[in-house]
Symmetry: C2
Subunit: 203 residues, 2 copies
Amino acid sequence: MRSRSDVLELAILGLLQDTPMHGYELRKRLNVMLGSFRALSYGSLYPALRSMADRGLITVAGSSEPLPHALSGKRSRNVYELTADGKEHLAEALTSSGPTAWDDEGFDVRFALFAQTDVETRLRILEGRRTRLAERLDQLRTSAARTRERVDEYTLELHRHGLEQVEREVAWLDGLIDRERDSGRTSKRRHPASRRTDGSESS
Amino acid sequence: MRSRSDVLELAILGLLQDTPMHGYELRKRLNVMLGSFRALSYGSLYPALRSMADRGLITVAGSSEPLPHALSGKRSRNVYELTADGKEHLAEALTSSGPTAWDDEGFDVRFALFAQTDVETRLRILEGRRTRLAERLDQLRTSAARTRERVDEYTLELHRHGLEQVEREVAWLDGLIDRERDSGRTSKRRHPASRRTDGSESS
DNA sequence: GTTAGCATGTAAGGAGTTACATGATTTT
DNA sequence: AAAATCATGTAACTCCTTACATGCTAAC
Protein backbone atom coordinates (compact mmCIF):
# COMPACT_ATOMS: atom_id res chain seq x y z
CA MET A 1 0.00 0.00 0.00
CA ARG A 2 2.97 2.32 -0.08
CA SER A 3 2.17 3.53 -3.54
CA ARG A 4 4.95 6.07 -4.01
CA SER A 5 7.89 4.19 -2.55
CA ASP A 6 7.29 1.40 -5.02
CA VAL A 7 9.83 3.16 -7.16
CA LEU A 8 12.61 2.82 -4.62
CA GLU A 9 11.80 -0.85 -4.07
CA LEU A 10 11.74 -1.49 -7.78
CA ALA A 11 15.15 0.11 -8.17
CA ILE A 12 16.57 -1.94 -5.32
CA LEU A 13 15.16 -5.19 -6.68
CA GLY A 14 16.48 -4.38 -10.13
CA LEU A 15 19.99 -3.73 -8.89
CA LEU A 16 20.01 -6.81 -6.73
CA GLN A 17 18.95 -9.00 -9.63
CA ASP A 18 22.11 -7.93 -11.39
CA THR A 19 24.24 -8.94 -8.43
CA PRO A 20 23.96 -9.23 -4.62
CA MET A 21 25.25 -6.18 -2.81
CA HIS A 22 25.48 -4.46 0.54
CA GLY A 23 23.66 -1.24 1.35
CA TYR A 24 26.48 1.23 0.92
CA GLU A 25 27.27 0.02 -2.56
CA LEU A 26 23.58 -0.16 -3.37
CA ARG A 27 23.15 3.49 -2.46
CA LYS A 28 25.89 4.62 -4.82
CA ARG A 29 24.40 2.74 -7.75
CA LEU A 30 20.93 3.94 -6.84
CA ASN A 31 22.15 7.52 -7.00
CA VAL A 32 23.58 6.99 -10.46
CA MET A 33 20.40 5.27 -11.54
CA LEU A 34 17.99 7.87 -10.19
CA GLY A 35 19.72 10.69 -11.97
CA SER A 36 22.74 11.54 -9.79
CA PHE A 37 21.35 14.74 -8.35
CA ARG A 38 19.05 13.97 -5.42
CA ALA A 39 21.26 11.71 -3.32
CA LEU A 40 19.19 9.07 -1.59
CA SER A 41 19.95 9.05 2.14
CA TYR A 42 20.61 6.10 4.40
CA GLY A 43 17.63 7.17 6.40
CA SER A 44 15.54 6.09 3.41
CA LEU A 45 17.55 3.16 2.19
CA TYR A 46 18.05 1.07 5.30
CA PRO A 47 14.45 1.16 6.52
CA ALA A 48 13.39 0.17 3.02
CA LEU A 49 15.79 -2.77 3.04
CA ARG A 50 14.56 -3.81 6.46
CA SER A 51 10.97 -3.72 5.29
CA MET A 52 11.75 -5.70 2.16
CA ALA A 53 13.61 -8.31 4.18
CA ASP A 54 10.67 -8.57 6.58
CA ARG A 55 8.39 -9.23 3.63
CA GLY A 56 10.71 -11.89 2.30
CA LEU A 57 11.69 -10.15 -0.93
CA ILE A 58 15.37 -10.19 -0.06
CA THR A 59 17.65 -12.03 2.35
CA VAL A 60 20.53 -10.69 4.41
CA ALA A 61 23.76 -12.67 4.21
CA GLY A 62 25.33 -13.61 7.57
CA SER A 63 21.97 -14.10 9.20
CA SER A 64 19.94 -16.06 6.71
CA GLU A 65 16.86 -15.96 8.94
CA PRO A 66 14.10 -13.54 7.90
CA LEU A 67 15.81 -10.85 10.02
CA PRO A 68 14.05 -11.25 13.40
CA HIS A 69 14.45 -7.57 14.19
CA ALA A 70 17.49 -8.03 16.46
CA LEU A 71 20.93 -7.83 14.88
CA SER A 72 23.18 -10.74 15.84
CA GLY A 73 25.63 -8.51 17.65
CA LYS A 74 28.41 -7.85 15.16
CA ARG A 75 28.05 -4.95 12.79
CA SER A 76 29.51 -5.22 9.33
CA ARG A 77 28.68 -5.63 5.67
CA ASN A 78 25.18 -6.98 5.22
CA VAL A 79 24.93 -8.46 1.78
CA TYR A 80 21.43 -8.45 0.36
CA GLU A 81 20.20 -10.95 -2.18
CA LEU A 82 16.95 -11.47 -4.05
CA THR A 83 14.68 -14.34 -3.02
CA ALA A 84 12.42 -16.21 -5.41
CA ASP A 85 9.58 -14.07 -4.13
CA GLY A 86 11.65 -10.98 -4.79
CA LYS A 87 12.30 -12.02 -8.39
CA GLU A 88 8.61 -12.63 -8.91
CA HIS A 89 7.76 -9.26 -7.40
CA LEU A 90 10.29 -7.58 -9.66
CA ALA A 91 8.93 -9.23 -12.78
CA GLU A 92 5.40 -8.17 -11.85
CA ALA A 93 6.43 -4.62 -11.03
CA LEU A 94 8.28 -4.24 -14.31
CA THR A 95 5.29 -5.48 -16.28
CA SER A 96 2.49 -3.78 -14.37
CA SER A 97 0.98 -0.41 -15.23
CA GLY A 98 0.54 0.77 -11.66
CA PRO A 99 -0.09 4.36 -10.63
CA THR A 100 3.58 5.30 -10.54
CA ALA A 101 4.55 3.50 -13.71
CA TRP A 102 4.63 6.45 -16.10
CA ASP A 103 5.75 9.39 -14.04
CA ASP A 104 9.29 10.70 -14.38
CA GLU A 105 10.99 8.67 -11.68
CA GLY A 106 9.02 5.50 -12.24
CA PHE A 107 9.85 5.58 -15.93
CA ASP A 108 13.53 6.32 -15.42
CA VAL A 109 13.97 3.36 -13.12
CA ARG A 110 12.10 1.02 -15.43
CA PHE A 111 14.14 2.25 -18.35
CA ALA A 112 17.42 1.76 -16.50
CA LEU A 113 16.30 -1.85 -15.98
CA PHE A 114 15.54 -2.49 -19.66
CA ALA A 115 18.51 -4.80 -20.08
CA GLN A 116 16.69 -7.32 -17.88
CA THR A 117 13.40 -7.25 -19.80
CA ASP A 118 12.07 -8.48 -23.14
CA VAL A 119 11.03 -6.41 -26.13
CA GLU A 120 7.31 -6.60 -25.36
CA THR A 121 7.78 -5.16 -21.88
CA ARG A 122 10.07 -2.45 -23.19
CA LEU A 123 7.55 -1.43 -25.79
CA ARG A 124 4.70 -1.37 -23.29
CA ILE A 125 6.67 0.87 -20.97
CA LEU A 126 7.86 3.20 -23.73
CA GLU A 127 4.37 3.52 -25.17
CA GLY A 128 2.80 4.02 -21.76
CA ARG A 129 5.21 6.81 -21.05
CA ARG A 130 4.58 8.34 -24.45
CA THR A 131 0.82 8.34 -23.86
CA ARG A 132 1.33 10.00 -20.50
CA LEU A 133 3.49 12.72 -22.00
CA ALA A 134 1.04 13.30 -24.83
CA GLU A 135 -1.67 13.91 -22.24
CA ARG A 136 0.58 16.37 -20.48
CA LEU A 137 1.20 18.11 -23.77
CA ASP A 138 -2.52 18.40 -24.42
CA GLN A 139 -3.06 19.83 -20.98
CA LEU A 140 -0.30 22.37 -21.41
CA ARG A 141 -1.54 23.49 -24.81
CA THR A 142 -5.11 23.82 -23.58
CA SER A 143 -4.14 25.83 -20.53
CA ALA A 144 -1.88 27.97 -22.72
CA ALA A 145 -4.78 28.76 -25.02
CA ARG A 146 -7.00 29.64 -22.07
CA THR A 147 -4.55 31.98 -20.39
CA ARG A 148 -2.87 33.50 -23.42
CA GLU A 149 -4.13 37.02 -22.83
CA ARG A 150 -3.86 37.27 -19.06
CA VAL A 151 -0.18 36.51 -18.48
CA ASP A 152 3.00 38.44 -19.05
CA GLU A 153 5.66 37.68 -21.59
CA TYR A 154 7.96 35.88 -19.14
CA THR A 155 5.36 33.44 -17.90
CA LEU A 156 4.51 32.77 -21.52
CA GLU A 157 8.13 32.10 -22.37
CA LEU A 158 8.41 29.69 -19.44
CA HIS A 159 5.41 27.75 -20.67
CA ARG A 160 6.66 27.75 -24.24
CA HIS A 161 9.96 26.33 -23.11
CA GLY A 162 8.29 23.70 -20.91
CA LEU A 163 6.20 22.62 -23.84
CA GLU A 164 9.25 22.32 -26.04
CA GLN A 165 11.06 20.13 -23.53
CA VAL A 166 8.12 17.76 -23.33
CA GLU A 167 7.87 17.67 -27.12
CA ARG A 168 11.50 16.68 -27.34
CA GLU A 169 10.93 13.97 -24.77
CA VAL A 170 8.18 12.56 -26.96
CA ALA A 171 10.40 12.66 -30.03
CA TRP A 172 13.08 10.79 -28.09
CA LEU A 173 10.57 8.13 -27.10
CA ASP A 174 9.43 7.78 -30.69
CA GLY A 175 12.98 7.06 -31.74
CA LEU A 176 13.37 4.44 -29.04
CA ILE A 177 10.07 2.81 -29.91
CA ASP A 178 11.12 2.51 -33.54
CA ARG A 179 14.39 0.92 -32.55
CA GLU A 180 12.67 -1.58 -30.29
CA ARG A 181 10.15 -2.51 -32.97
CA ASP A 182 13.00 -3.16 -35.39
CA SER A 183 14.86 -5.34 -32.95
CA GLY A 184 11.61 -7.10 -32.07
CA ARG A 185 11.02 -7.92 -35.71
CA THR A 186 14.54 -9.24 -36.25
CA SER A 187 14.75 -11.45 -33.15
CA LYS A 188 11.57 -12.12 -31.21
CA ARG A 189 12.04 -12.09 -27.43
CA ARG A 190 15.78 -11.79 -27.47
CA HIS A 191 17.85 -9.27 -25.55
CA PRO A 192 19.42 -6.92 -28.07
CA ALA A 193 21.34 -5.08 -25.35
CA SER A 194 24.65 -5.60 -27.12
CA ARG A 195 24.34 -2.97 -29.82
CA ARG A 196 27.02 -0.49 -30.61
CA THR A 197 27.52 1.85 -27.70
CA ASP A 198 28.02 4.98 -29.79
CA GLY A 199 24.39 4.84 -30.95
CA SER A 200 24.70 6.59 -34.30
CA GLU A 201 21.13 7.38 -35.27
CA SER A 202 21.15 9.85 -38.14
CA SER A 203 17.77 11.34 -37.15
CA MET B 1 14.27 28.58 8.99
CA ARG B 2 11.95 26.73 6.66
CA SER B 3 14.45 26.59 3.85
CA ARG B 4 12.48 24.57 1.32
CA SER B 5 9.09 26.14 1.66
CA ASP B 6 10.61 29.52 0.86
CA VAL B 7 9.64 28.77 -2.68
CA LEU B 8 5.95 28.56 -1.89
CA GLU B 9 6.08 31.75 0.13
CA LEU B 10 7.91 33.53 -2.62
CA ALA B 11 5.30 32.48 -5.14
CA ILE B 12 2.48 33.65 -2.89
CA LEU B 13 4.13 36.99 -2.24
CA GLY B 14 4.76 37.46 -5.94
CA LEU B 15 1.17 36.78 -6.90
CA LEU B 16 -0.16 39.01 -4.15
CA GLN B 17 2.01 41.89 -5.27
CA ASP B 18 0.24 41.73 -8.59
CA THR B 19 -3.16 41.96 -6.93
CA PRO B 20 -4.82 41.00 -3.62
CA MET B 21 -6.60 37.67 -3.79
CA HIS B 22 -8.34 35.00 -1.75
CA GLY B 23 -6.91 31.54 -1.24
CA TYR B 24 -8.93 29.61 -3.78
CA GLU B 25 -7.97 31.95 -6.60
CA LEU B 26 -4.39 32.02 -5.36
CA ARG B 27 -4.19 28.25 -5.60
CA LYS B 28 -5.31 28.20 -9.21
CA ARG B 29 -2.70 30.76 -10.25
CA LEU B 30 -0.07 29.00 -8.19
CA ASN B 31 -0.77 25.79 -10.06
CA VAL B 32 -0.33 27.51 -13.40
CA MET B 33 2.83 29.17 -12.15
CA LEU B 34 4.44 26.05 -10.72
CA GLY B 35 4.01 24.08 -13.90
CA SER B 36 0.40 22.87 -13.89
CA PHE B 37 1.15 19.26 -13.07
CA ARG B 38 1.65 18.83 -9.36
CA ALA B 39 -1.47 20.54 -8.02
CA LEU B 40 -0.76 22.29 -4.74
CA SER B 41 -3.26 21.20 -2.11
CA TYR B 42 -5.20 23.33 0.33
CA GLY B 43 -3.52 21.43 3.09
CA SER B 44 -0.32 23.20 2.07
CA LEU B 45 -1.70 26.55 1.03
CA TYR B 46 -3.84 27.57 3.98
CA PRO B 47 -1.35 26.75 6.72
CA ALA B 48 1.25 28.69 4.75
CA LEU B 49 -1.08 31.69 4.51
CA ARG B 50 -1.80 31.46 8.22
CA SER B 51 1.89 31.39 9.04
CA MET B 52 2.63 34.33 6.76
CA ALA B 53 -0.19 36.33 8.31
CA ASP B 54 1.13 35.53 11.78
CA ARG B 55 4.52 36.86 10.74
CA GLY B 56 2.96 40.03 9.38
CA LEU B 57 3.87 39.50 5.72
CA ILE B 58 0.25 39.61 4.63
CA THR B 59 -3.07 40.81 6.02
CA VAL B 60 -6.47 39.18 5.83
CA ALA B 61 -9.32 41.42 4.73
CA GLY B 62 -12.46 41.32 6.90
CA SER B 63 -10.48 41.04 10.07
CA SER B 64 -7.66 43.51 9.71
CA GLU B 65 -6.11 42.48 13.02
CA PRO B 66 -2.98 40.30 12.85
CA LEU B 67 -5.21 37.22 12.86
CA PRO B 68 -5.39 36.36 16.58
CA HIS B 69 -5.78 32.67 15.81
CA ALA B 70 -9.58 32.63 16.29
CA LEU B 71 -11.76 33.26 13.26
CA SER B 72 -14.45 35.87 13.84
CA GLY B 73 -17.27 33.42 13.32
CA LYS B 74 -18.37 33.87 9.72
CA ARG B 75 -16.65 31.87 7.01
CA SER B 76 -16.23 33.34 3.59
CA ARG B 77 -13.74 34.80 1.16
CA ASN B 78 -10.59 35.86 2.99
CA VAL B 79 -8.79 38.35 0.81
CA TYR B 80 -5.05 38.44 1.41
CA GLU B 81 -2.93 41.47 0.77
CA LEU B 82 0.76 42.26 1.04
CA THR B 83 1.99 44.41 3.92
CA ALA B 84 4.99 46.72 3.71
CA ASP B 85 6.99 43.98 5.47
CA GLY B 86 5.77 41.51 2.91
CA LYS B 87 6.90 43.69 0.03
CA GLU B 88 10.29 44.08 1.60
CA HIS B 89 10.56 40.35 2.16
CA LEU B 90 9.60 39.73 -1.46
CA ALA B 91 12.20 42.15 -2.77
CA GLU B 92 14.88 40.52 -0.62
CA ALA B 93 13.88 37.01 -1.61
CA LEU B 94 13.92 37.88 -5.30
CA THR B 95 17.38 39.39 -5.03
CA SER B 96 18.99 36.92 -2.64
CA SER B 97 20.99 33.89 -3.68
CA GLY B 98 19.69 31.61 -0.96
CA PRO B 99 20.04 27.84 -0.95
CA THR B 100 16.90 27.23 -3.01
CA ALA B 101 17.47 30.04 -5.48
CA TRP B 102 18.82 28.03 -8.39
CA ASP B 103 17.08 24.69 -8.21
CA ASP B 104 14.29 23.87 -10.64
CA GLU B 105 11.32 25.11 -8.65
CA GLY B 106 13.06 28.09 -7.14
CA PHE B 107 14.16 29.27 -10.55
CA ASP B 108 10.78 28.74 -12.20
CA VAL B 109 9.03 30.86 -9.59
CA ARG B 110 11.60 33.61 -9.80
CA PHE B 111 11.37 33.55 -13.57
CA ALA B 112 7.59 33.75 -13.52
CA LEU B 113 7.98 36.87 -11.41
CA PHE B 114 10.40 38.58 -13.79
CA ALA B 115 7.85 41.16 -14.88
CA GLN B 116 8.13 42.68 -11.40
CA THR B 117 11.93 42.94 -11.35
CA ASP B 118 14.61 45.02 -13.00
CA VAL B 119 17.15 43.92 -15.57
CA GLU B 120 19.98 43.53 -13.05
CA THR B 121 17.99 41.09 -10.93
CA ARG B 122 16.86 39.16 -13.97
CA LEU B 123 20.41 38.82 -15.17
CA ARG B 124 21.67 37.71 -11.77
CA ILE B 125 19.00 35.03 -11.57
CA LEU B 126 19.53 33.82 -15.12
CA GLU B 127 23.28 33.66 -14.68
CA GLY B 128 23.01 31.97 -11.31
CA ARG B 129 20.81 29.33 -12.81
CA ARG B 130 23.16 28.91 -15.73
CA THR B 131 26.10 28.37 -13.40
CA ARG B 132 24.17 25.78 -11.44
CA LEU B 133 23.26 23.89 -14.61
CA ALA B 134 26.83 24.04 -15.87
CA GLU B 135 27.94 22.40 -12.63
CA ARG B 136 25.34 19.70 -13.11
CA LEU B 137 26.58 19.17 -16.64
CA ASP B 138 30.14 18.78 -15.42
CA GLN B 139 29.03 16.31 -12.82
CA LEU B 140 27.08 14.28 -15.34
CA ARG B 141 29.92 14.21 -17.83
CA THR B 142 32.44 13.18 -15.18
CA SER B 143 30.28 10.39 -13.86
CA ALA B 144 29.59 9.28 -17.41
CA ALA B 145 33.31 9.02 -18.08
CA ARG B 146 33.85 7.05 -14.88
CA THR B 147 31.09 4.51 -15.49
CA ARG B 148 31.28 4.19 -19.27
CA GLU B 149 32.40 0.58 -19.28
CA ARG B 150 30.34 -0.80 -16.42
CA VAL B 151 26.81 0.04 -17.54
CA ASP B 152 24.52 -1.34 -20.21
CA GLU B 153 23.39 0.44 -23.35
CA TYR B 154 20.04 1.55 -21.92
CA THR B 155 21.47 3.22 -18.85
CA LEU B 156 23.93 4.94 -21.13
CA GLU B 157 21.15 6.16 -23.40
CA LEU B 158 19.26 7.51 -20.41
CA HIS B 159 22.28 9.48 -19.30
CA ARG B 160 22.95 10.74 -22.81
CA HIS B 161 19.42 11.99 -23.05
CA GLY B 162 19.53 13.62 -19.63
CA LEU B 163 22.70 15.39 -20.61
CA GLU B 164 21.11 16.64 -23.80
CA GLN B 165 18.11 18.06 -21.97
CA VAL B 166 20.35 19.99 -19.59
CA GLU B 167 22.43 21.25 -22.51
CA ARG B 168 19.30 22.57 -24.16
CA GLU B 169 18.31 24.25 -20.93
CA VAL B 170 21.64 26.04 -20.89
CA ALA B 171 21.22 27.13 -24.50
CA TRP B 172 17.80 28.50 -23.65
CA LEU B 173 19.25 30.47 -20.76
CA ASP B 174 21.98 31.85 -23.01
CA GLY B 175 19.37 33.18 -25.37
CA LEU B 176 17.46 34.82 -22.55
CA ILE B 177 20.62 36.35 -21.10
CA ASP B 178 21.46 37.87 -24.47
CA ARG B 179 18.01 39.35 -24.77
CA GLU B 180 18.17 40.84 -21.29
CA ARG B 181 21.58 42.35 -21.94
CA ASP B 182 20.25 43.98 -25.09
CA SER B 183 17.23 45.43 -23.34
CA GLY B 184 19.47 46.54 -20.47
CA ARG B 185 21.69 48.42 -22.88
CA THR B 186 18.78 50.11 -24.64
CA SER B 187 16.86 51.23 -21.55
CA LYS B 188 18.57 50.98 -18.17
CA ARG B 189 16.28 49.77 -15.37
CA ARG B 190 13.11 49.82 -17.38
CA HIS B 191 10.55 47.03 -17.56
CA PRO B 192 10.50 45.68 -21.09
CA ALA B 193 7.63 43.36 -20.28
CA SER B 194 5.44 44.87 -22.99
CA ARG B 195 6.99 43.17 -25.96
CA ARG B 196 4.88 41.52 -28.57
CA THR B 197 3.08 38.54 -27.08
CA ASP B 198 3.39 36.32 -30.13
CA GLY B 199 7.15 36.22 -29.64
CA SER B 200 8.26 35.77 -33.25
CA GLU B 201 11.93 34.92 -32.91
CA SER B 202 12.88 33.43 -36.25
CA SER B 203 15.61 31.05 -35.23
C1' DG C 1 -34.85 23.74 -3.55
C1' DT C 2 -31.17 21.16 -4.93
C1' DT C 3 -27.05 20.35 -7.39
C1' DA C 4 -22.54 22.14 -8.67
C1' DG C 5 -18.84 24.65 -7.81
C1' DC C 6 -16.69 28.19 -4.78
C1' DA C 7 -14.26 28.66 -0.46
C1' DT C 8 -11.91 27.51 3.93
C1' DG C 9 -9.99 24.77 6.95
C1' DT C 10 -8.02 20.37 10.01
C1' DA C 11 -6.10 15.66 11.08
C1' DA C 12 -3.56 11.84 9.87
C1' DG C 13 -0.05 10.01 7.71
C1' DG C 14 3.46 9.04 3.86
C1' DA C 15 8.02 9.70 2.17
C1' DG C 16 12.13 11.38 2.70
C1' DT C 17 16.06 14.35 4.76
C1' DT C 18 19.30 15.83 8.43
C1' DA C 19 21.74 15.00 12.23
C1' DC C 20 23.24 11.93 15.22
C1' DA C 21 25.48 7.67 17.00
C1' DT C 22 28.37 3.74 16.27
C1' DG C 23 31.63 0.43 14.58
C1' DA C 24 34.96 -1.83 10.98
C1' DT C 25 38.57 -1.53 7.58
C1' DT C 26 41.99 0.53 4.91
C1' DT C 27 45.49 3.90 4.10
C1' DT C 28 49.19 6.85 5.49
C1' DA D 1 48.20 4.64 15.80
C1' DA D 2 45.73 8.35 13.49
C1' DA D 3 42.93 9.66 9.80
C1' DA D 4 40.01 8.63 6.20
C1' DT D 5 36.49 6.17 4.39
C1' DC D 6 33.52 2.35 4.45
C1' DA D 7 29.34 0.73 6.59
C1' DT D 8 25.04 0.52 9.32
C1' DG D 9 21.54 2.24 11.68
C1' DT D 10 17.93 5.54 14.52
C1' DA D 11 15.24 9.75 15.95
C1' DA D 12 13.41 13.91 15.04
C1' DC D 13 11.67 16.80 11.94
C1' DT D 14 9.90 18.84 7.39
C1' DC D 15 7.06 19.22 3.75
C1' DC D 16 3.51 17.81 1.52
C1' DT D 17 -0.81 15.05 0.19
C1' DT D 18 -5.19 12.73 1.15
C1' DA D 19 -9.28 12.57 3.19
C1' DC D 20 -12.36 14.62 5.77
C1' DA D 21 -15.53 18.34 7.53
C1' DT D 22 -17.92 22.58 6.90
C1' DG D 23 -20.45 26.34 4.92
C1' DC D 24 -21.56 29.85 1.14
C1' DT D 25 -23.43 31.17 -3.52
C1' DA D 26 -24.97 30.79 -8.10
C1' DA D 27 -27.53 28.21 -11.60
C1' DC D 28 -31.16 25.25 -13.14
